[in-house]
């Protein structure tokens, strides 16, 4: 049923253009020589990339993004993987439905709502305006991605492999370590990459829970654009996209390798 191929192709291209247009609009401006975020571009230069790496506010924000991103990735990957293992194989119980809803809730609850709640809570526990607070906040919204990816990987594992390992003498802990986790690894890595990307991209929560010392790149872009619209934003966006595409390629690569080896 490879029918209507031409109309599909035309329509597909239109949708692609539709989705890509905002990116195409902003990315060339990363290389402008002007101090305005405007077309036409007078001359090309990499001055805004230099600015990113030398201006104190931008340098700090890059370091913050990396620290918070790595922290979030570690925390979310561990919690999310354990949660996925715990949810596993209970797909028909009511409890499972409840837990799954809870784990996926942060994916659909508005960031504004979460942000307000966290602000209130963090103030009470002294987490407001700390790195730990930001990491915890980002972890809450990163966990669903880890759970979804690891759950998918676990669903792909034949239970009989684990039964076979048990019958050959492996205790449950050894089965987990030697069979289940190695086979779920591609999902865990995908989840970790998504968690990292989520942390990098997050703005709204960061606005609520982070102090001036925890400004991330996304947060910095957000304020910059509201204060003065400088092409540094376009340069930061460019770096973001390059990083995202690299991470995406990594995930695809891992998935394909695991498909091949399974």
């Amino acid at each position: 049923m490879r029918a209507l191929p031409l109309s599909k192709a035309l329509f597909g291209s239109a949708v692609v253009f539709f989705l890509m247009a905002p990116l195409f609009a902003i990315l060339p401006l990363a290389f402008t020589d002007s101090i305005f975020l405007n077309y036409p571009i007078p001359r090309f230069s990499i001055r805004w990339f230099t600015e990113l790496l030398t201006a104190d506010a931008w340098r700090r924000s890059i370091i913050n993004s990396l620290v918070i991103g790595v922290g979030t990735t570690v925390l979310a990957t561990i919690l999310g993987t354990v949660a996925a293992l715990g949810l596993r194989g209970k797909s028909f119980s009511l409890l499972f439905g409840f837990f799954r809803t809870v784990f996926l809730l942060p994916m659909v609850v508005p960031a504004v709502v979460l942000g307000v709640g966290m602000q209130l809570m963090f103030a009470q526990y002294g987490l407001a305006n700390t790195y730990l607070g930001v990491i915890v906040a980002h972890t809450v919204i990163a966990i669903p991605f880890v759970v979804v990816n690891v759950t998918a990987a676990l669903q792909g594992i034949d239970h009989r492999l684990e039964n076979a390992a048990a019958s050959l003498g492996a205790s449950p802990a050894v089965v987990l370590q030697k069979i289940t986790l190695p086979l779920a690894l591609p999902g865990v890595v995908s989840g970790a990459v998504f968690a990292f990307a989520t942390s990098l991209d997050e703005v709204v929560l960061t606005l609520f829970v982070a102090g001036p010392n925890q400004r991330t790149v996304a947060r910095q872009m957000f304020s910059t654009i509201r204060e003065n619209i400088s092409p540094a934003i376009a340069a930061a966006a460019f770096l973001f996209i390059v990083g995202t595409v690299a991470l995406g390629a990594l995930v695809l690569l891992i998935r394909q390798r695991s498909v091949r080896s399974l």
Partner: protein, 354 residues
């Protein structure tokens, strides 16, 4: 069954309101090859899973070599299990797969190498140590699974339809190989299958499962030649079932009057009361067709269909209102459709089923 090695004592298993194994007793001797045969859902696989420890009985107990095992987790039961889909670890090489149970038992490096090499040679895969499972054919993967289940010298090997995924020729080859290994190593093997040929050719005894119970257990020839129930007679091979009433019993020979009025003489080990309704099972290969009768039982029949099967002809005939199936060898002259012939069979080919 010389000595009871594996013993199921009143074992039941229910999933919710579904009783899958129903108050079942079964004793398996050391070194025996017992097949569990039955339709899907008859409880044979559940019984195997309980023996392996993957499922817990709802009630009853399971013991091996005199010790109760039903509370032991699977990794403490020391049984080799071979699964239908082989269940090889995809992220390990053939060697690593086979060495896995030895590693779990803390074997030394040199002992592992020696025993893995020996068992892979035994299953003729000496050249495949470093391959990943995905690089092997179905038959080779099954051999690795077998090697892995044997390498730690378990006393019991459980097989869950291990040959179901292989094609016919390979399946027959593997049947011979497993039979051979069973004889050589003196293993106790419990083998689940839904393929009657597999069960008939490999087993010391066959247990026929139906609705969570064992309908009959015995040697292949006991099951085939002396089925106890209609279910067993129809499940193993093909059969013709004729209904009638016992009219007399003399010297081990029953006389049965069929519903159409014909009289059959039937051998029977046990006396059955005169006047009782019975079913007589006659295997298609036990009937001969000819212009005149040959045996003690003769029925006048009309040929309704002849189906070519290569090595034999399946002839469908009508005896009064009873349709009968006859397996005719190709050497004898085949009758024509519509012809009237005589179907004859000796009393020893007839068997009473309940």
């Amino acid at each position: 069954m010389s000595n009871a090695f594996i013993h199921f004592d009143k074992v039941s298993k229910a999933f919710g309101i579904m009783t899958v194994v129903d108050d079942l007793d079964l004793t398996i001797g050391k070194g025996e090859f017992v097949s569990m045969l039955g339709p899907s859902g008859s409880g044979k696989t559940t019984l195997l899973m309980m023996l392996a420890g993957f499922e817990k009985p709802t009630s009853g107990s399971i013991s091996v070599a005199g010790k109760r095992v039903d509370a032991l987790p699977p990794h403490k039961r020391n049984m080799g299990v071979v699964f239908q889909n082989y269940a090889l670890f995809p992220h390990m090489t053939v060697s690593e797969n086979v060495a896995f149970p030895l590693k779990m038992r803390g074997a030394s490096r040199s002992e592992m190498v020696e025993r893995v090499t020996k068992v892979l040679d035994m299953v003729q895969l000496g050249a495949f140590h470093e391959r990943k499972p995905i690089q092997l054919s179905g038959g080779q993967q099954q051999r690795v699974a077998l090697a892995r289940a044997l390498v730690f010298e378990p006393e019991v090997v459980l097989m869950d339809e291990p040959l179901g995924a292989l094609d016919k020729k390979l399946r027959e080859q593997m049947q011979m190989d497993i039979r051979d290994i069973h004889h050589r190593l003196g293993l106790t093997i419990v083998f689940v299958t839904h393929d009657q040929t597999e069960a008939l050719t490999m087993s010391d005894r066959i247990a026929i499962f139906n609705h969570g119970k064992i309908e009959q257990i015995g040697s292949p020839s006991e099951i085939y030649d002396r089925p106890r129930t209609q279910f067993v007679a129809e499940f193993i091979g093909e059969t013709n079932l004729l209904s009638g009433k016992v009219s007399s019993f003399n010297d081990g020979i029953l006389s049965v009057i069929l519903e159409g009025g014909q009289l059959l003489r039937v051998t029977s080990a046990s006396k059955i009361e005169v006047g009782k309704s019975v079913k007589v099972s006659i295997r298609p290969e036990g009937i001969e067709l000819g212009q005149s009768g040959l045996g003690e039982n003769e029925l006048r029949v009309r040929v309704s269909d002849i189906v070519y099967h290569g090595d034999h002809l399946q002839v469908q005939v009508e005896a009064g209102n009873n349709p009968l199936v006859v397996k005719a060898t190709r050497q004898t002259l085949a009758p024509q459709i519509g012809e009237e012939v005589t179907a004859s069979f000796s009393p020893s080919q007839c068997w009473i089923v309940t």
